[in-house]
Symmetry: D3
Amino acid sequence: MASERYEKGMDVLKDFNLVDQHHPEGHMDIGAGFKDLAPDLEDFVVEFAFGDIYGREGIDPKQKVLVTMASLVAQGIPQIEMHVKTGIKVGLTPEEIVGAIIHILPYAGFPKVLNGLKAVQKVFSEQGITVKTK
Amino acid sequence: MASERYEKGMDVLKDFNLVDQHHPEGHMDIGAGFKDLAPDLEDFVVEFAFGDIYGREGIDPKQKVLVTMASLVAQGIPQIEMHVKTGIKVGLTPEEIVGAIIHILPYAGFPKVLNGLKAVQKVFSEQGITVKTK
Amino acid sequence: MASERYEKGMDVLKDFNLVDQHHPEGHMDIGAGFKDLAPDLEDFVVEFAFGDIYGREGIDPKQKVLVTMASLVAQGIPQIEMHVKTGIKVGLTPEEIVGAIIHILPYAGFPKVLNGLKAVQKVFSEQGITVKTK
Amino acid sequence: MASERYEKGMDVLKDFNLVDQHHPEGHMDIGAGFKDLAPDLEDFVVEFAFGDIYGREGIDPKQKVLVTMASLVAQGIPQIEMHVKTGIKVGLTPEEIVGAIIHILPYAGFPKVLNGLKAVQKVFSEQGITVKTK
Amino acid sequence: MASERYEKGMDVLKDFNLVDQHHPEGHMDIGAGFKDLAPDLEDFVVEFAFGDIYGREGIDPKQKVLVTMASLVAQGIPQIEMHVKTGIKVGLTPEEIVGAIIHILPYAGFPKVLNGLKAVQKVFSEQGITVKTK
Amino acid sequence: MASERYEKGMDVLKDFNLVDQHHPEGHMDIGAGFKDLAPDLEDFVVEFAFGDIYGREGIDPKQKVLVTMASLVAQGIPQIEMHVKTGIKVGLTPEEIVGAIIHILPYAGFPKVLNGLKAVQKVFSEQGITVKTK
């Protein structure tokens, strides 16, 4: 039986359109790939990362995704595809997503930013998204 | 004679209230402390970091400061006082600033976040800012 | 009213001797210093870091503290004093604590290890602990 | 002619079952892949990393492998396959290996931990190792 | 119309043999791959990274490439192929390139250095470069 | 009795002017501060870091110090005072030292570079060294 915190985390996942009728198992991508190693890992992701943190008040969903992407890119972790997709779902424009990654340049340098942009490019390409440029 | 890009950078600094009649030399805090070692460093800060990057379209000033703070805290660089102050000047609420730092928890862990919050706490304490909590 | 998970986290803190009759507020050092900014931060520490993770089966308390210290030192976060103290409480010998930090040398280099050893040295000095050397 | 320290390092490699009659060249995987660039690199690995550090007293072989894995995962270096295999050889249980990686969650965040678990999963899958879960 | 700084950056690229009659678009590899996301990114690379920084006096071209490679490898960013090629073009010997990467060992550990050497090995192999070893 | 490798390391320390008649114990600053915790640590520093790595052929002493400083600053480890002093002893000009740190800007960002420059500034100030600027 799911805990109250798990339910709260799932509600957040639904609010973020990460789980819906078309992707009823969308949350399973997160942590669930390690069921064989650690079945509780999915709970930590749903309960802590989504229930506690993503569900926390203070900043809005768009800001949360921007902060998430910046945290990863600045650490040299370029696997932000999932977060780019979440960003699109919560209403970030393509310009905001690209602008946020580029804004990291003076704080973490070109190589990390270019690696992050590759992930953005991949998602935009898959979804047919174009960036308005002057 | 200042370059066009330097002027643009200075305009951004004014837009962000980092330089005004009460702090005409506000930008001098940035890079200018190294005039003896590298007089061009201030130009790089004003022209590139402010003119090119902060002056870039795509994301708004509040988002820019959130991304800046996240980039630094996630790298384990806790010296974000200047950016917390900038955040306040561009209209971020105390709850947004704290919320952004706490949102980094699942992505970079507790120690970096706690170090970042210490810097926030210092600025809020100096400026008499309180966070609304339930 | 404390949640079940909070209670579980507090039990772990007691098992690790971080909270006892002489230090009934020992857990308050962790996260509680930010009550003004984020009263829920203490819950995250007690519930997630202690209840979920430290309370998890798989590795024993000594191993948990060694892994904690290695994770921090390798990231260049030298503030491990609290974890050195926890290590002593759960029965790690001084030789094990020093040996673990030195073991990080080939994986993260001398500067991070030397910074970690400074923290160890400080705690050992405060507690009058000596390392058996040949 | 091999130096005394090289011999000591090789003894450690044998103690850790990394070199035996079935894998007489097991140590050649380490550093030897760069013989064309730097033939002395293998010596540094055998003499320093194994002879000096792995051969050092203080912590036991299981603890050494746990500290090694934690140091790498926390730095965002997910290539720990060799160390997972070494861990199995020195007697770490699958639960201890997984437990150690998961224990890093509060200290370095989910993304680095998930990347580390992928490497564990790969080795366990290759060797037909299963984790006991409740 | 190209700015004066862009022209200066292009001059540096020519001085470094990164753009010549055989590779008139050599600079396009840098940043230009993201024209669809951010057409100004190429300007930042040419103007800031090359014009301002690579074009700066103080250290010579060989030293600049060594510092570049060290900065990346030490951060755990092993994609240094382009910089290895630049190093060769400005006259670094194979021994200097390998020697610089190996010199990072005590400061950032074996795993990052081995990852860096893989990139060196790839470029040397493609270009038929051999390292003089004793 | 000192090992052959220890002697070699000490020779390197003398070649680098880190140990001489005026500072016969100069090497003791390195690692020796931890004699109480790990008396062998000094050996690792002298034998491996100096004997094996600093004593290695391939790059010259000036290049070695530049690579050392870049490795540290890029990792966000600003304690480079000792290496700045070594750089001066092996003949790096003030302009080269500053130029190398500033060259890291596009690869690791402003905050790490500014922190590194603070350490340079401290040493230059103590030794009355001035940088030639245009």
